[in-house]
């Protein structure tokens, strides 16, 4: 599915991802991987070749949903560098 919801948003994207899947082993051991469907910005994708979850911080809305849902603790979650990330205009 082509995710178009965020295309009107303003972001100052920083090179360095503020969120990382820091423990792929824990992540792979998660049965339902709720981050994939629950992330409102569609940042989590399953790589069909490697079967691993991949995260891209580019469209991230910094809501914290993945941080709360990742009960395995496989994610390292932080805010982007000050002034970077999403800039809501409305």
């Amino acid at each position: 599915m082509n995710f178009t919801k965020i295309e009107k948003n303003l972001y100052f994207v920083h090179n360095e991802p503020h969120i990382r899947i820091s423990d792929q082993e824990l992540c792979a051991g998660c049965l339902n991987q709720p981050c994939i469907t629950s992330c409102p910005a569609n940042c989590y994708q399953k790589n069909e070749t490697t079967n691993l979850v991949e995260f891209s911080h580019v469209g991230c809305l910094e809501c914290g949903t993945c941080k709360v849902l990742c009960v395995k603790g496989a994610i390292t979650w932080n805010y982007p560098k000050g002034g970077y990330g999403i800039v809501y205009r409305y």
């Binding site: 629950s38 409102p40 809305l61 941080k67 560098k81 000050g82 990330g85 809501y88 409305y90």
Partner: protein, 434 residues
């Protein structure tokens, strides 16, 4: 930069900025650290800024603040497969100063509020993330911004860093996140030319409305929806409990798209131009989210403290954030005068909230959110009410049987037993009637 501020505030939203204004007015040296490019750039909310608490800080604020529209109508709709049931509230208190509330866009409102804060004499630094604390024994005496910047020291640190409050968790005031304590809001903003919007909704001048929905029919997901009118745009969104979201296996934007198919919403969107998509968590665990609201040299305010009410028709947060900012400022002022920043001195903040209405109201609805998370409130009761009312009204060529009888029959059809009903009624009683 001076070495030690009286108060360092992390988070330039309604809670933090209110505390800053109140303290600056009392002559304290205050600095606010905001991680966004500007205040409000990371924020959104349902849309109602309740008037009265802000009036305490800025009387008649609507004359200078970038408010969108006055809420003149408050609507709640229960949607179900067979139809819908709407409650609409209007009245003088909505129409006259100090008004009930206004729709605002946080990116506009918070930015104005932060400029006001600076005019009142506080320092507001944007684009600064505070990542860690400076400690002196078990007392917080400062925060450390990211990327090697110098520590910002203060006699008292106010954490008004929002729903995710990483610092609140770090210092142990906030409990670790629990899935059941959060809802996710996703929202779209559509631009609609002012004249067209006002004509379409027969809005006079700056009149507007808020419309909340309990959605029982969109693929059986427990979700609430909302529509708010702004000056020349509308905000449309859905709010879903994280546990319900996971359970459904559906994406939040798919739920939003379902909601947008609702006739009324669809017709509104059809005349608008899509402008922005946003998402934010809502703390719903109330007073259960924080262990304590104060520690040695540190206070917890607003969303970070879980000060939100989500109880059906009652959705409050920004008012409580502002009020907690006022309460925090009063306690800090007291502590500064006595030069005592221990948790015993700062417990005055908690007392302020306890003696006022904030904790009372949050506590009152604490179990309500959990109650509202039950399926019955989405696909049970609304349908029961709708069907029995519909039967009663449309029996124009037959003997009418009493509403109670109809309701009981419908409940039976929905397999809602008397015990469950009694439990739910007690819940509603505790929140709304007691």
């Amino acid at each position: 930069m001076k070495k030690t501020f009286d108060v360092v505030i992390v988070g330039g939203g309604p809670a933090g900025l209110t505390a800053a204004i109140e303290l600056a007015r009392k002559g304290a040296e205050v600095i606010v650290l905001e991680r966004g490019y500007y205040s409000g750039s990371k924020n959104l909310f349902g849309g109602t800024l309740y008037s009265k608490p802000l009036c305490k800080v800025v009387p008649e604020f609507w004359k200078q603040a970038p408010v969108e529209r006055v809420i003149k109508r408050k609507k709640l709709s229960l949607l179900m497969e067979k139809g819908e049931l709407t409650l609409e509230l209007r009245g003088k208190r909505f129409d006259e100063p100090p008004y009930y509330g206004f729709t605002v866009l946080r990116s506009q409102f918070d930015r104005w509020y932060s400029e006001l804060t600076e005019r009142e004499g506080a320092t507001v630094l944007t684009g600064i993330v505070a990542d860690d604390f400076v400690m002196d024994g078990d007392s917080v005496t400062g925060v450390v911004p990211r990327h090697g910047s110098k520590a910002v020291r203060g006699k008292i640190i106010i954490l008004a860093d929002g729903v995710n409050s990483l610092l609140g968790v770090k210092i142990g005031l906030r409990k670790p996140d629990k899935v059941e304590d959060f809802s996710l809001a996703v929202r779209e903003v559509y631009r609609i030319e002012r004249g067209i919007l006002e004509k379409e909704y027969r809005l006079r001048g700056d009149d507007g409305f808020s419309h909340e929905y309990l959605l029982g029919r969109t693929r059986n997901i427990k979700t609430g929806g909302f529509v708010y009118t702004n000056k020349d745009s509308v905000s449309v969104g859905v709010v879903t409990h994280l546990s319900a979201l996971v359970e459904s296996g559906i994406s939040p934007y798919e739920i939003l798209d379902e909601f947008k198919k609702h006739e009324e919403v669809a017709s509104l969107i059809s005349i608008g131009e899509f402008r922005e998509y946003s998402a934010h968590l809502i703390p719903e665990g109330g007073t259960g989210m924080a262990k304590r609201l104060f520690g040695n040299g540190v206070l917890l305010c607003g969303d970070a403290a879980g000060l939100v009410i989500s109880g059906g028709m009652i959705l409050e947060g920004v008012n409580l954030a502002i009020e907690s900012g006022i309460a925090a400022a009063e306690a800090c002022h007291f502590a500064l005068q006595r030069n005592d920043f221990s948790k015993r001195a700062l417990s005055r903040y908690y007392d302020n909230l306890k003696n006022g209405y904030v904790l009372h109201n949050v506590e009152r609805f604490r179990n309500f959110g959990r109650l509202l998370a039950e399926n019955r409130f989405y696909d049970g009761y609304p349908a029961v009410m709708h069907s029995s009312l519909m039967d009663f009204i449309t029996s124009t060529d037959s003997r009418k049987s009493g509403l109670a009888k109809g309701i009981l029959a419908e409940l039976k059809g929905k397999e809602i037993g008397k015990g469950t009903l009694a439990k739910d009624l007690f819940g509603i009683y505790s929140g709304y009637l007691r």
